[in-house]
């Protein structure tokens, strides 16, 4: 197995596997301005989203942390923040936060710009092109895996995912951790039923508590609302597919995290400060989950899918793997690593992990996985709404 990859050196010891310019709206009102700038700047990507206004408390901080993290992601060379001017998600504030990564950051507000959006697009393109020209001078260099953060995702799962693609991803994740890198498992609602196993793998009492408490809180608060999370898993479709109990389903999900010890638990979009395997609190919407992984600094994501899913991420390339022979056939345009050969060609989980590792290294080195090639740039931010709205 290859143990190095080619990347772009960033300040503060970070390494990017892509060299993009982020055009980041602080608020949804200026999404179109960001899109128009991104269209005319090489390697630029507009990180449009529907938030940034009328938010407060933990919800505001959560979104601010996420937007900041997206700008700080090492795959981004530099960021242009576009604001409106009256929103509470201030572009200036975001710029200050992202500058902590010591990368180029510029910000503009439409309301502070003579000529408004049209003039700002022209200025943004000018500044963006200059940034892109600087970025293009960078040469790729060789780095070891201690510079890598891998995100682990699954979506459109079926009963085959847990016995094919997921355990193969677990082997790849363990390898990244062994080589000194970081791997992050999100989707905490899908750990229910395996808490005791995750806690057994936790390094230290704090990590143990950080696994136990949010799950307890989730179960208690949903119980109060009359929902028993544990009673709705596995779903009728899961049962039809052969999954019998909640712990069996969750075991399939957490198989993506391999056998490595768990260093700790991250908040949504929080950057891990130490090496190893981390868990992330995030409820399990694929696009929100992958946005949180990218905001935490993941340069690449491996996503397993049973029924097939086309989704991608604007910052971290997403490698898809699938164990379902039908999906691999019908949706081959969305699948990078065919794990269904475990079923059709008698391959082992280890064989698939080896193929997946090669694909991972190629993608790190610049190969575009299907979602990136097809232009699936999906971004959504999980909202932390702890207060009830009158309905």
């Amino acid at each position: 197995m290859s143990e190095e990859f080619m990347g772009y050196e960033r300040p503060k010891g970070k390494v990017g596997i892509r060299n993009r310019i982020a055009i980041l709206p602080s608020v949804s009102c200026v999404n179109h301005v960001a899109e128009e700038i991104a269209k005319r700047v090489e390697n630029a990507v507009a990180l449009t989203h529907p938030l940034g206004c009328g938010q407060f408390g933990p919800d505001f901080l959560n979104v601010q942390r996420t937007l900041t993290g997206l700008g700080k992601n090492p795959n981004i060379y530099g960021t242009i923040i576009v604001g409106l001017g009256c929103e509470n998600m201030k572009s200036e504030e975001l710029a200050k936060n992202i500058r902590r990564a010591k990368k180029p950051v510029e910000f503009f507000n439409v309301q502070d710009f003579k000529g408004g959006g049209i003039a700002l697009i022209e200025e943004g393109v000018k500044v963006g092109r200059k940034m892109a020209s600087e970025a293009s001078k960078l040469k790729k260099e060789s780095f070891d895996f201690s510079h890598l953060i891998l995100g682990l995702e699954c979506g459109g799962s079926d009963s085959i995912s847990g016995i094919t693609a997921n355990p193969a991803v677990g082997i790849v994740s363990d390898k990244v951790v062994e080589l000194g890198g970081i791997s992050i498992l999100p989707e905490f609602t899908e750990w229910i039923g395996t808490e005791h196993l995750l806690m057994d793998r936790a390094i230290g009492q704090k990590a143990k508590r950080d696994i136990e408490n949010p799950l307890k809180k989730l179960l208690e608060s949903t119980m109060k609302a009359g929902i028993d999370f544990r009673g709705i898993q596995p779903s009728p479709g899961n049962i039809e597919g052969g999954l019998t109990t909640i712990e069996e389903k969750s075991l399939g999900t957490i198989a993506k995290s391999g056998k490595s010890p768990i260093t700790g638990v991250l908040k949504y979009s929080q950057e891990p400060k130490r090496k190893g395997l981390w868990l992330m609190i995030e409820p399990g919407n694929d696009i929100e989950s992958m946005t949180g992984l990218a905001a935490a600094g993941a340069q690449v994501i491996i996503m397993t899918t049973g029924r097939g899913s086309p989704v991608g991420n604007p910052i971290a390339p997403v490698i898809k793997t699938c164990g379902n022979p039908h999906s691999c056939d019908w949706l081959s345009c969305h699948i990078d690593v065919d794990a269904s050969t475990i079923i059709t060609e008698n391959k082992s989980v280890e064989d698939i992990a080896e193929i997946m590792w090669k694909e991972l290294v190629e993608v790190l080195n610049g190969k575009k996985p299907k979602a990136e090639e097809l232009g699936f740039h999906d971004l959504a931010i999980w909202r932390y709404l702890a207060f009830p709205f009158p309905m």
Partner: protein, 94 residues
Amino acid sequence: MKKSFIVMNSEDNCATSLKDIPKDEEIEIKEGKIIIINHNIPFGHKFALNPIKTGELVKKYSQIIGIATEDIKVGDWIHTHNIKSHYLERVANE
């Protein structure tokens, strides 16, 4: 060659089918050990590799996935009719 089942860990007492296995089919679960399948096992469903008595644990990935609610014979289909969640049982008693 198409594989008809997968065992996730050598400690497991169940296997997962990778095709629709008809009742009465003979399956070689390891070299020289052949079992007879007692029920139709749909793709993705489980069958027993060992006898599992009522109250005994069912293991997949070397982990507990449930507890038998009736005696299960080698080759029996394992699903919601004969096992239940061990986790839910445990949290209910906490």
